[in-house]
């Protein structure tokens, strides 16, 4: 550490290091011109800098500039290239928005985008302009933009307190933090007020209004201080990041973690903002926890919860949803899991008897080594809510009434029998009814029924009857105990039921995930994975699914995978394409393109996006938090399964490559000998011819030339075989099927071998019913040539050969090549078609490939080839070719 202090890196070096890092990532750089409020000259400064850049030859365009009719600013825009704005129709009015597609298509080096906090017109691609900016940056374009301190999410509350006006258009701090450069535009409040009075900021009448409301000197000083502080904090933070990146031991205790508890209450908003400020200054990471007690949330609460979670994410928190009945225990568990040292909770509205207060008590008691922060609520008094933070399940009036009526019914039925059983027994009957109630009803109706049971027992049965007064102490005690026992039973069983419900839900979730994982692991191809995924999502979410895959070139397919259960139309496909390129989810229930009918999730792969999953829920479906996180789990499982299959494919391919490499090696080893033999002959004999030109006798000369010729023929055959083999091995054999007359093919093969067959008696018998067949003439000819040549090579000269062809069962054409030779070596009959197999006693000149090639060519026609020894002696090779099409011979009158 001391070494570091001696050796303090200067700021320029720091900056350089940061810059380099960005260039590597290929993203555009974000520069924010940051000020305390409107009118300090941010846009002006941005434009001046843009003009300087243009003068240096940088390609700068204006994406969106709001001049506010300020002359000086408008003048600066002149001469810069402006991308035309897009017109958006909204409720009859025509709004102008930045045209992000035009900017991406234009692809400048730098684009100027004013007012980062702006909210886009409904129907635009993104809800907010900062999201547009993120997309532009992701495409490698630098952005200059402007921002006021009051629009910074974490400062919005404080600004509201200072100025009294609530800021709605806020920008997440993460955007600000991720900016590559912040340029603070600072002028003194006095000067700003002067400029305001001169009408340089707003037109005259608005100006006065503004001064009265917002631009009070006190306000301005506070805002100025805040903007300077934000900037300073940022610099501080950057240096820390840099140190961490460089592994320089930090003087701050690192690795602090905060666990922040939130609920579906609006108060959580201020807790979240506070947590973000604290964590930022402490340089701690923070985890926001929502404990789902599977209480039924009202519409309003659900919205609020979603907002809270979204806010936390935007401010850079990790969000964890966990389920549990006891919130304190759940929080402590998460804190331990996350290795956090602090827990942050909101201060309850009321301290006495409130559930939230009990939570704090429990936390205090159970969290031995953890720090607990309790955060006060900002501006909560004005809109306090009567509803408790964590409500019990709501029971309807009907349920209350039914519960009471059931008790009343029991009382009335027992009434005539009290003479026989005694009034005290009746209390047990009533108690039984009350204790059974929690099976159907919530704790509210149960407690009411318990009270009603006690009262009706007292009124109807305890003497004196039909009064609430009780005659003796015994009965008073019994009535009181009745009430207590009934209540406790009711509440306890309600709690058990609730816990059971949570467990059931958790089980359902686990089993859904387990089912999916099991199905996915038994899928053996990408298609199977997709089919499984589609059916699982359909089963658990009742939603339609579309898979659109990407390819290795990083292009998205035009049509969804055939297993998809819906097909996105053109508009939806463009949403999918956006998701594919940006690798962020979009569509329904998201911030991006929310008007789409389905939600699209990216499947990110290691090198290129794997594709997009579109999930289309039924129109009225609402997803709970639980389901949403289950769906995200599903998607990540599916993504990794698809990735797994992809890697398997790559693996399979590399195995094939390795196999063929091995083959080539064997081939070359064995073939080099075959090459060298004829070459040696040619070289030797031709040398002889050259050397003894004068004294050559014609007989010797003729002999030599013949030898050269034979050797050359052998070389030629070898090359042809090798080429055929290579074609076969590389899987390049695609038979060019055309109508062929088998007689023609046979003829050709025999003609090729005219010389090899010299002096042999070859009989050819093609049955008349062998029709024209669709074959590759060349391949079948080669196969037959190889078979016949093989027979000629391995039988003594003069041995007879029989070639026959006939139909078998009308659909298979049989071609048999038989000889009267010694036959095949019995132990090797099954090996004759193997590569490089050569009979031990075979004559030289074969390559061991001829039969392999014949087999390959026949199989390319979906035929088979077999070898056997004939009972009457000699070998027989039989080709069977399936007949797929036939030609009807049309008859014609002869002339």
């Amino acid at each position: 550490m001391s070494e570091y202090e001696d050796n303090r890196p200067n700021p320029d070096e720091l900056l350089k290091a940061l810059k380099k890092e960005d260039e590597r990532s290929g993203k555009g750089k974000l520069k924010i011109f940051f000020g305390m409020c409107a009118g300090v000259g941010k846009t002006y400064a941005m434009l001046s800098e843009a003009r300087d850049a243009v003068a240096k030859g940088v390609d700068v365009v204006v994406g969106y500039i709001e001049t506010h009719k300020r002359m000086e600013t408008a003048e600066l825009v002149l001469g810069l290239e402006v991308v035309p704005r897009k017109k958006v129709e909204y409720r009859g009015a025509e709004l102008e928005e930045m045209d992000i597609d035009a900017i991406l298509a234009r692809k400048p080096k730098v684009v100027l985008v004013d007012e980062l906090a702006h909210t886009n017109a409904p129907g635009s691609r993104h809800a907010r302009r900062y999201q547009d900016v993120q997309e532009i940056l992701a495409n490698g374009i630098d952005v200059y933009t402007t921002l006021n301190v009051q629009h910074l999410e974490s400062r919005a509350d404080t600004v509201a307190q200072i100025s009294g006006s609530i800021v709605r258009e806020t920008v997440p701090d993460s955007i600000f933090d991720a900016a590559d450069e912040i340029k603070i535009i600072d002028i003194s409040p006095d000067e700003l007020l002067k400029r305001l009075k001169e009408g340089k900021v707003y037109a005259a009448e608005r100006s006065r209004q503004a001064v009265e409301n917002f631009f009070k000197e006190g306000n301005l000083s506070a805002l100025r201080e805040m903007s300077l502080r934000v900037t300073a904090e940022r610099v501080d933070h950057q240096i820390r990041e840099y140190r961490r990146g460089q592994n320089i031991s930090s003087p701050w205790k690192s690795g602090q973690r905060l666990v922040v508890a939130i609920s579906p209450s609006p108060h959580s908003v201020s807790v979240i903002r506070w947590a973000r400020r604290v964590s930022h200054t402490m340089d701690a990471t923070w985890v926001v926890v929502y404990v789902d007690r599977s209480d039924k949330l009202s519409e309003e609460q659900r919205d609020q919860l979603a907002k809270n979670i979204k806010l936390a994410r935007e401010l850079g928190a990790e969000v964890v949803t966990t389920s549990g009945v006891d919130i304190a225990n759940a929080l402590i568990r998460v804190a331990r899991e996350q290795n956090a040292s602090q827990i942050l909770v909101g201060k309850p509205d009321r301290y006495i008897f409130s559930r939230a207060a009990r939570l704090i008590d429990n936390l205090m008691q159970r969290s031995t080594d953890l720090d607990i922060y309790i955060v006060g609520q900002e501006g909560s008094r004005s809109k306090r809510k009567i509803q408790s933070v964590i409500p019990w399940p709501q029971s309807s009036a009907v349920q209350y009434l039914t519960a009471v009526l059931l008790v009343l019914l029991a009382a009335i039925v027992s009434f005539p029998f009290q003479g026989y059983i005694g009034y005290r027994t009746v209390s047990f009957i009533l108690l039984l009814v009350v204790s059974l109630l929690p099976l159907k009803f919530g704790p509210g109706p149960t407690v009411l029924a318990a009270a009603f049971g006690a009262l009706s027992w007292d009124f109807l049965f305890i003497p004196p009857r039909f009064t609430f007064s009780i005659g003796n102490l015994e009965d008073t005690l019994l009535a009181a105990m009745f009430f207590v026992v009934a209540t406790v039973t009711g509440v306890l069983s309600a709690r058990v039921r609730k816990r059971e419900k949570i467990i059931r839900q958790r089980e359902a979730r686990t089993s859904a995930l387990f089912g999916l994982t099991k199905d996915l692991s038994s899928a053996h191809s990408q298609d199977e994975v997709i089919t499984t995924a589609v059916s699982n999502i359909k089963k658990y979410f009742d939603a339609d699914v579309a898979f659109i895959l990407g390819d290795a070139e990083g292009e998205m397919a035009n049509t969804p995978h055939p297993a998809s259960s819906f097909k996105p139309d053109v508009k939806e496909s463009s949403v999918a394409a956006w998701v594919y390129w940006n690798e962020k989810k979009a569509g329904k229930n998201t911030d991006t393109l929310p008007s789409a009918h389905a939600t699209y999730f990216p499947m990110s792969g290691p090198r290129y996006p794997l594709g997009v999953i579109g999930v289309k829920f039924p129109d009225d479906a609402e997803l709970s938090n639980d389901q949403e996180s289950l769906l995200e789990n599903f998607i990540s499982q599916i993504t990794s399964a698809i990735e797994r299959e992809l890697l398997n494919d790559v693996n399979r391919k590399s195995i094939v490559v390795a196999e063929s490499e091995r083959l080539y090696k064997t081939l070359f080893d064995s073939i080099s000998h075959e090459f060298r033999t004829p070459i040696a002959t040619i070289l030797g004999v031709s040398e002889n011819l050259l050397g003894h030109e004068s004294e050559q006798r014609t007989g010797l000369r003729e002999q030599s030339v013949k030898e050269i010729h034979v050797a050359a023929e052998r070389l030629n055959r070898l090359v042809a075989n090798l080429l055929d083999m290579t074609r076969l091995e590389s899987g390049m054999i695609q038979p060019k099927l055309d109508w062929c007359d088998l007689r023609d093919v046979l003829n050709h093969a025999l003609k090729n071998l005219e010389r090899e067959l010299e002096g042999r008696n070859v009989s050819v018998d093609v049955s008349d019913d062998v029709p024209l067949m669709k074959l590759d003439f060349g391949l079948v000819e080669q196969a037959l040539t190889n078979l016949i040549h093989n027979a000629a090579l391995h039988t003594p000269s003069g041995t007879g050969m029989m070639i026959r062809s006939y139909l078998e069962e009308g659909e298979t054409c049989v071609i048999s090549v038989a000889d009267n030779g010694p036959g095949l070596p019995r132990e090797d009959i099954n090996r004759v078609f193997e590569k490089f197999y050569r009979a031990q006693n075979g004559k030289s000149g074969g390559t061991g490939l001829g039969l392999t090639i014949a087999k390959g060519f026949v199989e390319a026609h979906h035929g088979t080839i077999t070898a056997r020894n004939r009972t009457e002696g000699g070998a027989e090779f039989v080709i069977r070719l399936p007949i797929t099409e036939t030609v009807s011979k049309d008859s014609e009158e002869t002339l």
Binding site: N716, A720, L723, R727, K736, D738, W739, C740, D741, R743, D744, V745, L746, N747, H748, V764, V766, L772, D776, F777, G778, E781, V887, K889, E892, E893, T894, L895
Partner: protein
């Protein structure tokens, strides 16, 4: 190859590339062009088309095995004959002689004979030895097409278009069926044809011997 041809009395000009070849063909006006399809610069078929734009000079195409598609394209583009490498010297010389002999200008002979077959194009009669052979209209059309292009390789497509019409150029089974029938009537041994020869994967040729 140059050696072989010169020793047989031909004068040979050797050209290394396609474009150069076209230029040479125009300036020297050779009696025969031997065109190798494996050219370094442009497609051999392209060379052939360029030459056929202005000349009817016989062209003999050379190619490696398994390049039937290229050969067919060349024949359809107007090449007269083809040879696949490696070939025998004798074969080359025979094809050269054949190509030079059957020039279009000498095609007016009314009576043509091959082996023991005599075809009279004006009388539309076919005689095998002393006997007349009865042919169907299509068979005769086919035979007369062969006779008029004796020695040349005719592709399946060309035959189909000439005999059956352009609409039938994909019905390749027709040529097999009719050539089979024709052979039965005019060959001594239809399983070893001597008059109509099969060019594997490409088409047929009428023997010129």
């Amino acid at each position: 190859m140059e050696l072989t041809l010169e020793s047989d009395g031909y004068s040979v000009r050797l050209v290394g590339a396609g474009k150069e070849g076209i230029a040479k063909a125009a300036s020297e006006r050779p009696e025969l062009i031997i065109l190798d399809l494996g050219l370094p610069d442009i497609d051999g078929v392209e060379v052939l088309r360029k030459i056929r734009d202005w000349s009817e000079v016989p062209v003999l195409v050379l190619s490696v095995r398994d390049a039937e598609t290229d050969i067919v394209a060349c024949l359809d583009a107007g090449a007269d004959d083809y040879l696949t490498k490696p070939f025998r010297t004798g074969e080359l010389l025979a094809r050269v002689r054949n190509a030079l002999r059957h020039r279009p200008s000498q095609q007016d002979t009314a009576v043509f004979s091959v082996h023991d077959l005599q075809i009279d194009l004006t009388a539309r009669t076919v005689k095998k030895g002393k006997e007349y052979v009865k042919l169907t209209a299509t068979e005769y059309a086919l035979l007369s097409l062969f006779v008029r292009n004796a020695g040349r390789v005719l592709t399946h497509n060309f035959i189909l278009e000439q005999v059956w019409g352009p609409a039938f150029s994909d019905e390749t089974q027709y040529t097999r069926v009719y050539v089979g029938q024709l052979r039965k009537k005019i060959e001594d041994d239809p399983s070893k044809p001597k008059i109509i020869l099969t060019e594997s994967g490409i088409g047929y040729r009428l023997s010129s011997e």
